[in-house]
Structure formats: C-alpha cells, structure tokens
C-alpha cells in the first residue's frame, strides 16, 4: 500500500491517512447535518423556532470525543516522526552544503559531487551545512525535510529503498533563484556506488590564496563563477583590467575594472551596475569585509586573468 522509497514513507503516510480519514468523516458529517438543518428547519417549513436548553452532557461529549481523537492523531504523528531522529551509528555520512542556489555533496575524503548518489538499502546520514542563508533539504518522495541553517549543525537521515533518480528541492525561501535550487538524488546498487565513489575527484582549488578564502567565505561564488559562466552576476574570469559598460544613475558609460572599481563594487554595488544586470541583487558588504582585505580580493581576481 505504501511506497518503499524510504524507510519513513510508511509512518508518514499512515499518519496522513488516519488524519485525513478522521477529517473527512467530520467534514462530511457536519456539512450534511448543516444542509439537513437548513432544509428541514427552513422558515417556510418551520416558521416558529424552538428554544432549546443547553445540555451539559452533550457539551461534555463533544469536548471529550474530539479530545480523545486529537490525542490519538498526535500519537500517530509522533510515532511516524520519531525514527527520523534516530540515525543508526554506522550510517554513511554525507556533508550537504547548501549555498545560494546550489547543492554540493561532500563524501568522506573531501570528494565533492553535484549529484547525491547513494547505495540502496543502506542508511545515509546527511550533515546539513549552509554557507549563507537558510535552505531546506527536501526529498518529497522520501518524506524527508530538514532546514539547512547557517551556524547550526542540523542533520537528517534515511534508508533509500528504490533504485532510480529522485528530486531534491530547496524548501526554505533563499532568494532570487530559490526555485532553481534543486539536485538529483540517484539511488544505485552498492557496487555501482563504490565504483562511482572511487572515481569521484577530490575538490581542488587554491585554498591558500587569502583572496580566495575571503571570496569563498562570503559566498560570492553563488553569483559569480570563475570559469566564464554567467550566473546571477558577471563572471570573475578575465574581469580584472577589462573595460565594461556600467549604468550609473541611469546613464551608461565605460569603466575599467581596477582596484578602485572592485572596492566600490563590493562596498556599494548598486552605484555602478554592470549593464544587463538588475540593481539590488548584490548587497553591500560594508562591515562584513574589512577595507584592508579588499586589496587581497583584487590580487586574487588578477590571478583569474588569462595569461
């Protein structure tokens, strides 16, 4: 009756059925009574209202029965939920990194992937990290959802029970491209998983460049690429030293990207807006990035110029 997509489907869907069942029963019952009364006691048929005394017994009954029912529904919900908080100790650990507007999955050994590949019938524990704002880790078919909150170590876990591709969506509103922040969950047999993991490359970036660290830490990469791809903002590749069109208070003019311009772009990004982009998307980093750190970022941008 219930799908086996994950070990939680049964508990959650059972709660759905029970609560919907009780609700539907009352909806139909009360609506029918209402309609019957409106027809039967219509003024035309029933010109004189009968005044009825309150009955304590009736009032007690219709307080007690709903009370018992809600306690029952509470219990069913709790029962379906509890296993979601009891991850087994030997689960496969995956670090889920959410940033505007991209999911990255890091497997043991710093191996990173954009697709969440997992072996079937094996418990997987997701450690949820956010680089910027709150995101929501949501796999509808698995009945799994937990917020990815910056500064907090949330987790969730599940045992996938069906092979195939499933949607992973971001459920917590996180800005411009919230609705595009999705990824694929791919459930594969265990041996396929082991081979796939062995081939997965270790992420390689120049992690020691001071400027890179700042840019990474402040989440600039969610809008700016370093490979020439146009994301929400212009790419950083070959940006330094180039001549670009910007809009300043509605007038277009040319500007050369130098240290001064980069400083302005970081501290007051909506003053000179790169032509073709909307103002208000990049926020000011005044107070978040120190003035003395900005030259380091400029130095880093210089390394992204084609030789």
């Amino acid at each position: 009756m219930f799908s086996n997509a994950s070990n939680f489907v049964h508990g959650v869907d059972k709660a759905f059925l029970i609560i919907f069942g009780i609700s539907l029963f009352f909806l139909i019952l009360l609506t029918t009574i209402m309609i019957v009364f409106v027809v039967k006691y219509n003024k035309k048929r029933h010109p004189k209202a009968v005044q009825i005394k309150d009955s304590s017994l009736l009032e007690f009954t219709w307080t007690a029965i709903p009370m018992i029912l809600v306690l029952f529904m509470f219990y069913v919900g709790w029962e379906g939920f509890l296993p979601m908080r009891q991850a087994p100790a030997d689960a496969l650990n995956v670090k889920v990194i959410g940033r505007m507007w991209k999911w990255t999955f890091e497997y043991p050994g710093k191996k990173q992937s954009d697709t969440l590949v997992l072996p079937i019938n094996k418990a997987a524990r997701m450690e949820l990290f956010s680089k910027d704002v709150i995101h929501g880790f949501f796999i509808p078919t698995f009945r799994v959802k937990e917020d990815v909150v910056p500064g907090k170590k949330n987790y969730t876990w599940f045992i996938p029970g069906e092979l195939g591709d499933f949607d992973l969506l971001c459920s917590a509103y996180c800005g411009l491209s919230h609705s595009y922040m999705s990824a694929v969950v791919r459930i594969v047999p265990e041996d396929v998983f082991t081979k796939w993991l062995a081939k997965l490359p270790v992420s390689k970036v120049d992690e020691n460049n001071e400027g890179y660290k700042l840019v990474e830490k402040n989440g600039c990469f969610s809008c700016h690429s370093i490979d020439g791809a146009k994301l929400v903002g212009p790419t950083f590749k070959d940006m330094y030293g180039s001549s670009i069109d910007v809009m300043t208070n509605g007038t277009r003019h040319k500007i050369t990207v130098d240290d001064e311009y980069i400083k302005n772009s970081i501290l007051d990004p909506n003053k000179d807006v790169v032509d073709g982009y909307a103002p208000g998307i990049m926020k000011s980093y005044t107070g978040l990035i120190k003035d003395k750190d900005i030259p380091k970022i400029s130095e880093y941008f210089k390394t992204l110029k084609a030789k």
Binding site: M73, G80, F138, G151, A278
Partner: protein, 536 residues
C-alpha cells in the same frame, strides 16, 4: 426608567454636523462609527490591490518557466502580497472595522473609551501603510523576503527591507492601541446592568482578541527593531557570521505571529456567532462555552508557536510538546463549530445572504482547521511544511475564514451602517461564485503540496502544472466574484432601498436603534437582556 426622557432629534451619524465639514469631518472624526468606516475604506482598497497582486502571481504560475514576469519581481510580489494581506488587511480587519462600529453599540455604550486615541490609531495605520507602499518604490527595489522576514536572508538582502519592517513595526502600534482601547471599553463602558455574561459574543471575541493584540504585538515590534539594528549597525542578533542565531528570529517572530492568527480568526468566529442565532431565530447554543473558548484559544494560542518550526532543528522534546499543544488548541475551535450547527437545530432558518456567507465560512473553516491537524502532526508536517499545502491551508483559514466572515459581517451590518439594503439575489450569486472560485483556487494546492510542490517558487517541475493551471482558473473566478460582490454592495450602500431599524429581526442592541445610528447611538432608553439572544 423614567418616562419623561427629553427627546433628542434623530440625526444619523452620517449626517451629523460637527466641528469640521466635508472630508475633514471624516479624517478628523472621533466618532467610533466614522473611524470604523475610515478603516473599512482603507482596508478594502488594500484588500483589492492585494488580491490583484495575488492574481498576477497566479498568472506567472499557470505554466512552468518564466510566464509574465522575472523571478525577482515574483519574489517581490509575494512579499508585498503577504505584507498587505497580513499587516494591513487581516490583522486590523474585523476588529478595526466591525469591532469599532459595533463593540460600543453591542454593549450599550456611546463610544469607545478613548475616542481620540482611536482616531490616532487610524492615523498610525495610514502612516504605516504609506511606508509599506513606499518600500515598493525605493531605489534598492521592493523587499523580497516574504512577509516572514526570516533572518539571515532579511539581514543581508540588498532590497528595502528596513522600510518594510519599519512599516510593520508602526502598524503594530496601531494594533496595540486599538487593543488597549477595546479592553478598557469592555471593562468600563458597558451599559448599566450589562455584566460580562450578558454581553453578546462578538464583544467577547473582540475582548479576547484585544488581549492578544496588547500582549503579543510588542514582541514582534522588538524583533523587527532587532532586525533593523542588525542591518544598520551590524549588531549580531540573528546572522551567524556576526555571532547571532537565525532560529532565534523564528522563535521571536512566531511567538507573535501565531497568536496573530487568532487576532484574525477570533473576531471572525465572533461575527459568525452573531449571525447564526439571528437567522435561526434561536438562542445561541452553549453561550458560556463559546465565550470561554475564545479566552481559551487566546491563552493556549500563546504556547504553540513552535509548530511553524518543526524542521528548523529544534530538540525532539520541543517538537512533541508543540505538537501536543497544537492538537489541544484545535478542540475549542471544534466546539465552536458544534455550537453553531446546534444553534440551527429546530430554528426557523432564513437563508439570507449573511447566513449563506456564514454557512460558506463554516465549511471552509472546517477544511482549514482539519488541514491544520495535518500540519500540527510532526510526521505529516515534515512532508507538507513550506509547500503549497501550507499556502492552501492558510488561505482556507484566513481568506475562507476571516475573509468570508468579513463578507458575512458586511452583508449583515451594512443596513445598519448605511441605512440601506443591497440586492439579496446578487449577494447570493456573488457568494456562490466566490465559493466555487475559492475552492478551485486553493484545493488543488493541497494536492500538489503533498506531492512536494514547495512554496515561494517562481518556477516548478512539470508534474505540478495541472494543479497550478486549475488553481489559476479558480483565481480568475474568485476575483470576478469579489468585484461582483463589491459592486452590489456599493450600489446598495449608495442607492439601495431604505433599511428598517431591524431588518433581520435580530435581538442584540444594535437592532434596537435606528439605521443608521445617531452620533451617540442610544438617544432613547433601551433594554439590556439577561441573555442577548432572547428571541420571543
């Protein structure tokens, strides 16, 4: 009572000549009835703007991909739509309009306790609303945080969040002052002989609501100030980069905003409790239970805020605790439904427009309430939290509930407020069109929500398209019904046939005075009944 009361010549409050003339006699009026109408005009305008913005969003969602607007515009739209509807329409809504107009009359008073404060509250409301509208037109762009202003997105986005939160902060003051005014009114201004348990049930509902307004609103005020301070001065309350905690924001926000849900729905229940007995010509069933359950809902409502945060990473204990309380608070609401329906038993039912709206309310409210159980249960909440299921649920509660109660109230009291009647047949047709449109608009969203359609999505996966398309068609029907109703009401209020003092054979005090009432409401002696719903 002596027989030789000196007869005051009857002049309706609409015609009364005060210190000012023309427009000024309205915007500087201290008469609770004129202030009520001022609120109503402002709120109705915002409501229709908000509804049209909602329809624009629906058009964007009719098909996957970019349809009629950009993602940033969509994000701005659901933010203003939410801010307008929540802070400028439903929170003031029934209490500022019908509470203002009828609370004093129903308890036999000539005005609220502090008439000038009342006018001041309206001005604050207007000022806050102007700011909220202004935030749309500033250079840095319309706010794009959603009406919930969740940190740290709200502390870091480049859009005009400060102005929008300041607006919400100011609107909060209007709400606090109105609440305070009504509390004192109920305590001090009741007519001689009217004890608490002789009051009709709408004043009871307004009374319970006023306590929430007074006690809960300051919390959101402080929260929004903290947010503003964080943005302006980098004080780290919520942003973890500054050493803050984003979940703290959610706690503070919902400690207010959950009770605020009851600010919206309690007066709505109060309205229905007035309308049902009148059109059944029967004493309301379970007077005490209804009166006290309002207080119970207001009280327990303060302790369930965590049900908005089951997935935020709260401790397991917090999760079951909030779930349990949420289920318990459902019981008093259920009792009210049972009471309304029992009041119909062996009544003499007159199916006039206000009663038809009340029936629609009860049906929609049962759906809204029972889907609330799905949200209150932790297991099912995991699946539907932050999906269109929630969107459907709260529209059923606040639009199907509070909105339809507002429509019921205006159809019930318009003859008293303007002294004229509207066309009943058209009102019934409007009700039916809206009822159909409403269910077509929101019911599909339950379905796609369970399947995993997240909310606040500008674009979506193709499997959700059918649901979204039906929903948009429902939106068009609903908007059509809304305008149809509006035109009928305006025509009625301006040119309809003259209304008698008591067109529905109601038993509460407002029906004992002329339509429209005079400036001081009670020019002649009146009878305070032991049970306000005494139909003999």
């Amino acid at each position: 009572m002596s027989n030789e009361v000196n007869k005051i010549e009857y002049v309706s409050y609409l015609e009364h000549q005060g210190r000012f003339k023309g427009l000024k006699s309205w915007i500087f009026a201290t008469d609770h009835k004129r202030i009520a109408l001022l609120y109503m005009y402002a709120i109705a305008a915002f409501f229709f703007i908000g509804a049209l913005l909602g329809l624009l969003m629906r058009f964007e969602l009719i098909a996957p991909g970019e349809t009629i607007m950009k993602a940033q515009t969509y994000n701005g739209l659901f933010t203003v739509h939410g801010v307008i509807m929540i802070f400028m329409v439903v929170i003031p809504g029934l209490s500022a309009v019908f509470g203002n107009f009828f609370l004093p009359i129903l308890i036999g008073a000539k005005d609220v306790a502090f008439p000038r404060l009342n006018l001041f509250s309206w001005w604050i409301f207007v000022f806050g609303s102007v700011l909220a509208v202004a935030s749309q037109f500033l250079k840095s762009g319309p706010p794009d945080t959603g009406w919930t202003f969740y940190a740290p997105y709200s502390t870091t986005t480049g859009t005009s969040v400060i102005i929008a939160t300041t607006a919400a902060f100011i609107l909060g003051f209007s709400s606090i002052l109105t609440g305070l005014n009504f509390l004192v009114t109920v305590h001090q201004m009741r007519a001689p002989g009217m004890k608490f348990f002789n009051m009709p049930l709408f004043p009871w509902a307004i009374y319970a609501t006023a306590w929430i307004q007074l006690l809960a609103t300051p919390i959101v005020g402080i929260t929004l100030l903290m947010l503003i301070a964080e943005r302006l001065f980098g004080i780290g309350f919520f942003d973890p980069n500054l050493g803050g905690d984003p979940v703290l924001f959610q706690h503070l926000f919902w400690i207010y905003s959950h009770p605020a849900v009851y600010i919206m729905i309690l007066p709505a229940m109060g309205v229905i409790t007035e309308i049902v007995p009148t059109f059944c010509q029967r004493k309301v069933y379970g007077y005490k239970a209804i009166a006290l359950s309002s207080l119970a809902i207001a009280g327990v409502g303060f302790l369930v805020w965590g049900h908005h945060m089951y997935t935020s990473g709260m401790s397991e204990n917090a999760r079951w605790f909030f779930s349990l309380l949420t289920f318990i608070v459902a019981v008093p609401s259920a009792i009210k439904v049972f009471n309304w329906i029992s009041t119909m038993y062996k009544g003499s039912i007159d199916l006039k427009p206000p009663f038809l709206f009340a029936l629609a309310f009860i049906f929609l409210f049962i759906i809204g309430g029972t889907t609330g159980l799905i949200l209150g249960s932790v297991a099912t909440n995991i699946q539907v939290h932050d999906t269109s299921f929630i969107v459907a649920h709260f529209h059923y509660i606040i639009f199907g509930g509070m909105g339809f109660a507002f429509f019921a109230a205006i159809h019930y009291w318009l003859p008293k407020m303007y002294g004229r009647l509207y066309n009943f047949r058209r009102a019934n047709i409007a009700c039916i069109i809206m009822f159909i449109g409403f269910n077509t608009l929101y019911f599909p969203q339950f379905v796609i929500g369970i399947q995993g359609m997240p909310r606040r999505y500008f674009d979506y996966l193709p499997q959700f398209q059918t649901g979204h398309m039906i929903s948009t068609i429902g939106g068009v029907i609903l908007i059509f019904g809304l305008f149809y109703m509006l035109i009928n009401l305006i025509k009625g209020a301006r040119k309809g046939p003259k209304a008698p003092a008591n067109p529905w054979n109601g038993s509460t005090l407002e029906w004992q005075i002329p339509s429209p009432p005079s400036l001081e409401n009670f020019d002649e002696p009146f009878e305070v009944k032991a049970n306000p719903y005494d139909y003999k």
